[in-house]
């Protein structure tokens, strides 16, 4: 039975690891400026955890093979050196790994979430609601209009609760259902939720952030590749959660300028 356990566990370990290593299923291509460092941290973690996984599982398998169903009459023997070297080894090795991961990872995290955005960022407001995202550009005056929850209305498509009748800054605001951004330009999103928690997740952008009702949460990134990618909600928000998505369209700066001009003209 010990040998059978060893064989089954070895097969499980080898197959699982091989699928990770050959990247049968893997992250989509990164399109963000900060993404390569996240991917690098993920691969580093994957390699060290992979070694730990394989060594632990295979020692379990080897010991089960060697010491299972023994009928050789020899007495049991203690682990060489007892528990102390093992404890010291775990503290030193895992501790070193933790220090290394934290040192690199904390800087990386701080670079994305704790650093102020570039002052030249393109600022866009994002409003999440059951079950859609809307994006607002401030228009030619550069000032977004004030939002009034009591004016928010689905039927009149006033998703942000703007008051163009009284508020001049709101009149030129551009509200669209697709996040359109120029490539290679820092983007600063301000996330607000209209009703419940939602989340902004674009796997290709390696960015994720919750929307929290009552909070305006900044999120900044730079896309370095053009294309159209899905924005999905990752925070359970009700029955339509699975269907809550929008697109981010990354375009060259000149095309973006044209797009913006068109939108302004439509106002």
């Amino acid at each position: 039975m010990g040998k059978l356990f060893a064989v089954v566990l070895t097969i499980i370990t080898v197959v699982s690891t091989a699928i990770f290593a050959t990247r049968v299923w893997w992250l989509p291509t990164d399109i963000s400026l900060h993404g390569p460092r996240i991917d690098h941290q993920l691969v580093e973690t994957m390699v060290s955890c992979g070694v730990l996984f394989v060594v632990s599982q295979l020692s379990l398998a080897a010991f089960a093979w060697r010491y299972g169903d023994r009928r050789d009459g020899r007495p049991v023997k203690a682990f060489p050196g007892g528990a102390t070297p093992m404890v010291v080894m775990a503290v030193v090795l895992v501790g070193a790994e933790i220090l290394a991961l934290t040192f690199v990872g904390a800087k990386l995290w701080a670079g994305i979430y704790q650093t102020p955005p570039d002052p030249n960022s393109l600022a866009i407001d994002v409003q999440a609601e059951q079950f859609a995202f809307y994006f607002r550009y401030p228009g030619p005056d550069g000032k977004p209009g004030a939002t009034h929850p009591e004016l928010m209305n689905e039927a009149t498509e006033n998703y942000f609760g703007l008051d163009p009748a009284h508020d001049t800054t709101a009149r030129d605001d551009i509200v669209v259902p697709t996040l359109t951004i120029p490539v290679n330009r820092p983007i600063l999103l301000t996330l607000r939720a209209k009703d419940v928690n939602h989340a902004f997740y674009v796997p290709e952008l390696r960015i994720q952030q919750d929307f929290v009702p009552g909070l305006a949460i900044p999120l900044h990134f730079t896309a370095v590749q053009t294309g159209k990618f899905e924005i999905v909600c990752t925070q359970l928000c009700g029955l339509g959660h699975y269907n809550m998505r929008a697109y981010v369209e990354v375009m060259p700066q000149d095309r973006f300028d044209e797009w913006l001009k068109e939108k302004v003209a439509q106002q």
Partner: protein, 581 residues
């Protein structure tokens, strides 16, 4: 330490007092285990329905329409009903299985016997804690039968979705209120239970049973009780505040200016993040409430079948205490992306990573115990080895989620689902299985069938890897969790992998029927068990199978040594029992 007889109650008379409203910790332990069995069957059926829907969203499931005419018209699960099934699956499994069975069930039955006591310190409170748990379960199940269905905001019930009531859509009416009421009641039961465990361990140990001589399982239940006492004491008021937000118009978790279904909500001043902090302050220790009894059970059982002492007994207990302490410092790792101050993410990340050190040590101690052993491959031994394997698999993926910089990508994906199912679901279940096969002879005086037990192990062991390992791959590919269907373009290529997981889940679930059959049949028809069938050292094996009402027939044992005396040269057999002169 008390040496005098601790209880004066005589064996009860009459069926009701003996088997139903019993104050005997052994009966209460079995009642908890029976409740957990009903709960786990319910939770598993819910997971089958979810898995079937994920793989084949338009599939009509016969009979389902009768249970929920709205949620499954024509037998096809609606998106909202899927979320209800998911919420109920998580809630039932976490609270009524993973907390109830390994801690309240086995702990109730064996903690008093293992310390040489006649019963728990407060038998009536003990009985109350079981009946209160049952009420909590019935309240939760009743939500299946209310008009707009059970709660659907997940087992974490994030506010304001869970707090604003009917405007937020289906599942936010009576179902969500019943959810919060059920969990608040459950907390009361757990607090009563935890007090009893702590008092019994500290005050009712028999002569010679110093703390250092307590079995590892007793240590684990004791530490778990301490964790539970603090954790449930926070969750209960949180649930009460949630109920008040829902029914009394308060705004603990609801800020101003929310517009739901085109209606401005009459709330102001609350914080959705407050709920998350309160919930996870309970929620992360809860993971250890589910798994630490498993640690204890494995550390208790492994030496019995390795026929040698557990490696590093003091290191093991030190690690359990370290994990318990650290479990209160890590809750924010569930909230890296929640909108909490990003500075605190790093702060929560460090203790989360540090907790891997004691977790690694205990794993190495188990593996080191097998080194040089004479392993007897009984069913409980197999489940012990399986436990170590699945715990390693689940624990390692924690490294990815403990770091905010990699969590940015993996948060909210199936990678998380894989992680927590392996580490607190499957590992804890393997601990429960090991405990059941190991202690069944003591509890029922009969042996379980070993052949069926081994079939159960092999099918389950291979099955769980087929179900949960691929979820890591889904997570890496960016597959978002809590989706009832995969309509996003980038998720469509992953559907075949989901179908594989569904088939594996049905297969693994079917394998549990072997366990169920073995359990029920052996309870009545299994061969008679001797007092100590496994040649183990601890006090529960010094008494008859099953033990008499006062556990030791009026002669409390006197303990002479620790529980770890295996592979002893010169001893009759190769072990010395704790109470042997």
């Amino acid at each position: 330490m008390s040496h005098a007889p601790v209880l004066e109650h005589a064996p009860p008379r009459g069926f009701l007092r003996t088997h139903v409203f019993s104050v005997d910790h052994k009966v209460i332990g079995k009642q908890y285990l029976d409740l957990a069995l009903v709960a786990v069957c319910t939770g598993m059926v819910l997971s089958w329905l979810m898995r079937l829907h994920l793989a084949w969203p338009t599939l009509s499931i016969p009979g389902l329409e009768k249970l929920s005419p709205n949620g499954a018209a024509g037998g096809v699960i609606t998106p909202e009903y899927y979320l209800s099934l998911m919420t109920m699956h998580g809630t039932i499994m976490v609270f009524f299985v993973l907390t109830t069975a390994p801690f309240a069930g086995f702990g109730n039955y064996f903690l008093p016997i293992q310390v040489g006591a006649e019963d728990m310190a407060f038998p009536r409170i003990n009985m109350a804690s079981f009946w209160v748990t049952l009420v909590a379960f019935l309240v939760l199940i009743s939500s299946f039968f209310v008009h707009d269905g059970p709660a659907l905001s997940g087992w974490t019930a994030y506010a304001p979705l869970s707090a604003v009531g009917k405007d937020a859509g289906p599942g936010q009416g009576a179902g969500q209120t019943l959810w919060a009421v059920s969990i608040a009641i459950f907390c009361v039961a757990q607090l009563l239970g935890a007090l009893n465990f702590i008092a019994t361990t500290l005050d009712l140990r028999t002569r010679g049973m110093s703390l250092a001589r307590m079995p590892f399982s007793t240590w684990a239940w004791f530490i778990t009780a301490v964790i539970g006492l603090i954790a449930f004491a926070v969750l209960m008021p949180a649930c009460i505040l949630l109920i008040l937000d829902r029914v009394a118009g308060t705004s603990f978790f609801i800020p101003a200016g929310l517009v739901i279904s085109d209606r401005l909500q009459p709330h102001a001043g609350g914080s959705p993040l407050l709920w998350q902090h309160l919930f996870w302050f309970f929620g992360h220790p809860e993971v250890y409430i589910a798994i630490l009894p498993g640690f204890g059970i494995i550390s208790h059982i492994l030496p019995v079948f390795a026929r040698k002492p557990l490696l590093g007994p003091r290191a093991m207990i030190g690690c359990l205490i370290a994990i318990a302490f650290l479990s209160y410092t890590v809750w924010g790792h569930h909230m890296f992306l929640s909108g909490m101050n990003p500075f605190s993410a790093t702060l929560f990340s460090v203790p989360t990573l540090i907790i891997t050190i004691p977790a690694t040590i205990v794993t190495l101690l188990w593996i080191g115990t097998i080194y040089g052993a004479k392993l007897r491959f009984t069913t409980p031994a197999l489940f012990c080895l399986g436990f170590v394997s699945v715990f390693v698999s689940g624990g390692i993926s924690g490294f990815f989620l403990a770091q905010p910089s990699t969590d940015v990508y993996l948060h909210g994906t199936y990678f998380v689902v894989a992680h927590f199912h392996f580490v607190m679901g499957v590992a804890a279940m393997f601990g429960i299985f090991a405990g059941t096969y190991f202690w069944f002879p003591k509890m029922f005086g009969r042996l379980m069938n070993e052949t069926l037990g081994k079939w159960h192990f092999w099918l389950t062991f291979i099955g769980v890897y087929c179900v949960f390992m691929p979820m890591h791959y889904l997570g890496l590919a960016g597959n978002v969790r809590r989706y009832s269907a995969f309509t996003d373009d980038y998720l469509k290529p992953l559907i075949p992998l989901h179908q594989f997981i569904t088939v594996a889940a049905l297969f693994t679930g079917a394998a549990q029927l072997i366990f169920l059959f073995n359990l029920l049949r052996s309870r009545f028809r299994g061969p008679k068990a001797p007092a100590n069938p496994w040649e183990a050292t601890t006090l529960e094996w010094s008494t008859t199978s099953p033990p008499p009402f006062d556990n030791f027939g009026g002669h409390p044992p006197v303990v002479q040594r620790g529980p770890n005396e295996y592979g002893v040269k010169g001893a009759a057999g190769d072990y010395v029992m704790q109470a042997a002169p």
